[in-house]
């Protein structure tokens, strides 16, 4: 088994030194190379089929051209929450941008026995994208990191982390107001666990804001919080089917699907008997029955932005704390009906 082709082999072939080869590979602007030398080196590279060894590079530069992406799991040490297409779409966008910029992404869940800082540092990651909310001590270690960290969908207050969001509170407000404007007064909220600093909490606050503004008092019987899953939506829908709420703000598409099913099971028709407004606008929202009116966020853009920011940060193109807020808007479909008061 023949040895791997290295810089040395290329240098030999081209009749130059390894340094020169390194210069042309990285096309150092500081260095001035004869076009002729460059061509000779490139020819040798092609001829030999040279491929750089990232490990060696990483060792020298302490940079890996690799970005760590952390995605929520069903529970620590378990599998990802990929039942929610939101994460798939987001991840997809991140990967694409990374790849286009010569980076790769390392995907992982969280481990009980290892902080992500350890992982990042052992792997010389160039940047970290963390999606969703974790426990406080998860972030703790990271604040001591030299590596840029961007938080997607979390409201953790720490000047060290960069953030990319939508205005979740405003989103919750918009959704609820949309319902109120159409004559609804008894409005339920089906949501995930209201972790402090999490998106669900923010959306819930927006829901309350709208209620308050309209002079409607909050009724805790109309709040259904659990996991962000089809099942929780289903349970909530089932219960709602037996109540007198006329509308529900369901704060994720996957929850809405469950709600729809629960409602239908109880013989309630949407939007005739009860209106539903959703959040996210993944492909699920427009393919279900009825298609959901929804607060839309641009998931792809979120992913693209996260990747672009982390890359710029790691190369030093971008400096200073980043806090980006992406726009949202309501997409009207068929799940909400005006209610005559």
């Amino acid at each position: 088994m023949k040895r791997r082709i290295g810089l040395k082999d290329v240098a030999l072939e081209a009749g130059v030194s390894t340094a020169t080869v390194s210069y042309v590979i990285n096309n150092k602007p500081s260095q001035t190379l004869t076009p002729e030398t460059i061509e000779r080196v490139n020819a040798a590279i092609r001829k030999l089929g040279y491929v750089p060894n990232m490990a060696a590079r990483a060792l020298v530069n302490n940079k890996s051209k690799m970005i760590g992406v952390v995605i929520p799991q069903t529970e620590p040490g378990k599998e990802f929450v990929f039942s929610n297409p939101f994460y798939g779409e987001l991840l997809s966008a991140i990967e694409l941008v990374a790849r286009q910029n010569g980076y790769h992404i390392m995907l992982s869940g969280t481990n009980a026995d290892q902080t992500y800082l350890e992982i990042a540092s052992t792997r010389s990651l160039d940047g970290i994208i963390i999606v969703g909310m974790y426990t406080a001590d998860y972030y703790e270690a990271l604040t001591k990191s030299q590596i840029p960290v961007v938080l997607v969908d979390s409201y953790v207050q720490d000047s060290f982390f960069h953030e990319i969001h939508i205005d979740d509170r405003q989103g919750g407000y918009l959704a609820t107001k949309y319902l109120i404007d159409r004559g609804h007064r008894k409005i339920a909220n089906v949501t995930g666990i209201l972790k402090e600093n999490g998106v669900n909490e923010q959306r819930f606050q927006g829901y309350r804001d709208a209620l308050t503004e309209a002079g409607i008092s909050f009724d805790s019987n109309l709040l259904f919080n659990g996991t962000v899953s089809y099942d929780h939506g289903l349970q909530a829908g089932l219960q709602l089917g037996a109540q007198d709420a006329t509308a529900v703000f369901s704060s994720a598409d996957i929850l809405s699907l469950g709600v729809l099913k629960g409602l239908k099971t109880k013989g309630r028709s949407v939007p005739h008997d009860i209106s539903v407004i959703s959040f996210d606008d993944t492909w699920l929202a427009c393919t279900c029955d009825p298609p959901l009116t929804v607060v839309r966020q641009d998931i792809e853009r979120k992913g693209i932005t996260a990747a672009e920011v982390i890359i710029s940060l790691s190369t030093g193109t971008l400096k200073g704390k980043q806090k980006i807020m992406l726009p949202i808007h309501i997409v009207e479909r068929e799940s909400v009906q005006r209610r005559d008061v």
Copy 2:
């Protein structure tokens, strides 16, 4: 900014050589260390918060404890096909097993200007898991790889690749036969592009096998092949709504959802007017309306197996070509109705 803690620092702290520290970290069985030395080293590691540098390790060992995972994309150079939850579930399982074994996964799509072999070799990947079917030249380069490659859901014939499958042809046969046994004769097949060596092609063959066995001749008007997407399913459903087929075998859940919608749009009720049998059994299958009778494959197991195989292969625990066939079975739900002949 203080330098990173290295083996040398640990050695100094423990009053031993770097070699000794390396021995205890890797707990070489060949080496015999005094328990006392071991303890001293471990204490130093803890005290200093030492974290190994994978880049250095990779450089020496030419192994990275990293597994490359390739997932289908909408098109080369574009984003992933994560609208299909199948991939999310699979990926999730792979990641979990990898992590539990001290590996990480590098996720990527395909690039036009770089073969995956180059990527794998530049990153010193320990193994590669390729999901789905690609063009022939994509595999071409890989056959020259020293790195173990396992193919999930592809029937490429090459003794170099390891394979993990279900019996897709048998699955197509079972689905179709299930329909035939219930009195259906005019049975459509909605499927993805019939790439040679791909799963869709196999399932389609199974469909034909069942037809032939029952003495039903194949009618190309009943074949709807396009992308594996909701939209293609929808189009097919729409057309089917205007035809006289009494049943349809739809070869992926995501297609089935589209078919269901198309049929409903055309005012056809499932299973009353027309029966639908699906394939995969992702969460979509049991949450849609009506819940789909389906050929179930254990996606999680597929992912787990792929990860276990690639790891064993890379450590040398496992040798020789692996070709694993996972079981499938039909799960009866509410989308198929017996038809009186």
